[in-house]
């Protein structure tokens, strides 16, 4: 586990030096523009606009980083053959994968935390004060981070057995499908054949449910998120990531490098 930590810290250093955190500049500019624009809008909906815009931006920037850098975590190391010298050290392949995953999640955590801080500052600027109920924004940000960790795990899995382009397509495809898992569960199974109903139910549980992590509407209106949902989402993300990373480790540990 210590060795996975060494890989994780280097992955974080790589992300910083590859200027991933420059996305914060874009976020800062966006929020400054929003803060000015929201002043022109009538009183009462500033919080809704600012929070919705801020959380959406945090989510979109995070998803982009998770997909593109998540896929590159392993594929770049294989393409450039930087992995060769590393795997000649006493490092197991699963430790390498876990370290890569941990490094990018750490990067995303730092990035997301900085953006959350920016969002709170803009809220303070617009509302002139922060209330206890505004803490729900932090819960929403935490859920976004859980979602991003899941996307990174999926990107890592796909990049272990296919080309980077296909891995990006698979990850994005699964993310989009994962946003509509609830709709799949709500399909009228009574009009389906038993086999189709069973398949639909099975599929809806197998696919990652990204909609679970979306509490943007609650946050925008300052409504509290139940503690049970926080626990449920945390457990869901941990278990799902563990399963996906285990699958990635199994695939990667048998892969012949070029």
């Amino acid at each position: 586990m210590r060795r996975a930590g060494v890989v994780a810290l280097n992955t974080f250093r790589e992300a910083v030096r590859d200027r991933v955190l420059y996305s914060l500049v874009f976020f800062a500019l966006l929020m400054m523009a929003a803060a000015v624009a929201v002043g022109q809008i009538s009183i009462g909906i500033e919080q809704t606009v600012i929070v919705s815009l801020g959380l959406s931006a945090i989510s979109v920037i995070g998803v982009l980083i998770s997909v593109f850098i998540g896929v590159a975590l392993v594929s770049k190391e294989m393409d450039k053959r930087t992995l060769y010298a590393l795997l000649a050290k006493p490092v197991r392949r699963w430790e390498f994968l876990l370290g890569k995953f941990g490094g990018l999640v750490l990067t995303l955590a730092v990035n997301t935390a900085a953006m959350a801080l920016g969002l709170l500052l803009v809220m303070l600027y617009v509302k002139h004060s922060l209330e206890r109920s505004d803490a729900v924004v932090l819960v929403a940000v935490y859920f976004i981070l859980l979602k991003l960790a899941l996307i990174v795990a999926l990107a890592l899995l796909f990049s272990c057995f296919t080309t980077p382009l296909l891995a990006i397509l698979f990850t994005v495809g699964l993310y989009i499908v994962g946003l509509y898992v609830q709709e799949l569960r709500d399909l009228p199974v009574e009009v389906m054949s038993p086999a189709m109903a069973a398949f639909t139910k099975w599929l809806s549980h197998l696919l990652p449910n990204f909609e679970n992590f979306n509490v943007m509407a609650m946050a925008a209106h300052g409504r509290a998120v139940p503690g049970a949902l926080i626990l449920q989402n945390t457990l869901y993300a941990v278990v799902y990531c563990t399963i996906v990373l285990t699958a990635a480790a199994v695939v990667f540990s048998r892969r012949n490098l070029k």
């Binding site: 060494v6 590859d18 010298a85 795997l87 000649a88 050290k89 012949n256 490098l257």
Partner: protein, 317 residues
């Protein structure tokens, strides 16, 4: 021979190719080989012969179709055994956002070293490979030769017992090659086992206790460079000067190089040839035995392999 540091048994690697991966190309065929503890072993062969495949199999970067290998008595699947192995990949490429010192520091963290020991070793290694003045420059700005040096440094950083180098002289200028040769000899003096692949046969002849010649995925010969080459010892070479003209019949067979002439004769014809040359007024400068070089031995094997491959192609088998 002392105990074996590297033991390879029937190691085979096939790559599937074509539609549905139904066809197979054999990259390495039933390799059996041992490298003794403390020896410098050269692995020579043309491009695509199977040298890098063998080394990648030993480092578990790829997996064998059949066969097994042990390093220091442990199966190659044992990752912990990598504490005692140093490896330089062919045409190494490292994290280009790191400086040489950072990269070595990063790799050192995987070994059981204290922070002070890591720092000390990194500095010593950089000095050893001649990069002590460039250690603060990011690797993206390094030349191919500098990357090769830093690759060598990371391979020996943790004082491994076995060092496996894939084309260590590649990309180096003559000075760099000499430095790498010196490092290999130093490793040998320290009792390390060194196995390296190379195209540069003179380096193999100069450095290796034994060499293995691999062509077309099969090992064609293993032994001390002299032993392999002695099998092909042939004839004598006479070097002489000649002032004035002469009609001696042997002179027509001699080749002129500058002010001297070179003449190749069979061993049993040596004395008769010397008599004839002296009779023609030649001054004999030297007489030496002609030994086939490792290069000739190697080229003969490659040519034979190509001829065999062509024959198989023609016969349609």
């Amino acid at each position: 021979m002392q105990g074996s540091a590297i033991e390879i048994e029937n190691l085979t690697k096939e790559y599937p190719f074509g539609f549905l991966h139904l066809k197979k190309k054999t990259s390495l065929e039933g390799l059996n080989m041992q490298v003794a503890t403390g020896e410098v072993f050269g692995f020579i062969g043309p491009n695509g012969a199977g040298k890098s495949t063998t080394i990648k199999l030993l480092m578990r970067l790829i997996f064998p179709t059949a066969g097994s290998a042990r390093i220091l008595g442990k199966p190659i699947s044992d990752v912990e055994m990598h504490r005692d192995i140093g490896y330089l990949p062919e045409q190494p490429y490292f994290y280009d956002y790191l400086t040489a010192a950072e990269m070595l520091g990063y790799f050192a963290r995987f070994q059981d070293l204290t922070a002070a020991d890591r720092k000390d070793r990194v500095q010593r290694m950089l000095k050893k490979v001649g990069l002590d003045t460039a250690h603060k420059i990011q690797l993206r700005k390094y030349s191919k030769g500098m990357l090769q040096r830093v690759g060598l440094a990371q391979a020996i950083l943790h004082d491994p017992k076995v060092v496996i180098l894939d084309e260590p002289m590649s990309g180096l200028d003559p000075l760099g090659r000499r430095e790498v040769r010196d490092i290999i000899l130093e490793l040998k003096r320290d009792g390390k086992t060194v196995m390296f692949s190379t195209h540069i046969l003179s380096d193999a002849e100069m450095l290796c206790d034994r060499v293995g010649v691999i062509v077309g995925g099969r090992l064609r010969g293993v032994g001390a460079p002299g032993t392999l080459v002695d099998m092909k010892t042939q004839g004598m070479e006479i070097l002489f000067e000649l002032r004035g003209a002469s009609n001696a019949p042997l002179l027509s067979k001699a080749a002129r190089t500058g002010a001297c002439y070179q003449l190749h004769v069979a061993e049993e014809e040596l004395y008769a040839a010397i008599e004839q040359l002296r009779g023609a007024g030649a001054r004999i400068l030297s007489v030496s035995q002609v030994k086939a070089t490792l290069e000739e031995f190697f080229l003969n094997l490659v040519e034979a392999d190509r001829a065999q491959a062509s024959a198989v192609e023609v016969s349609g088998k």
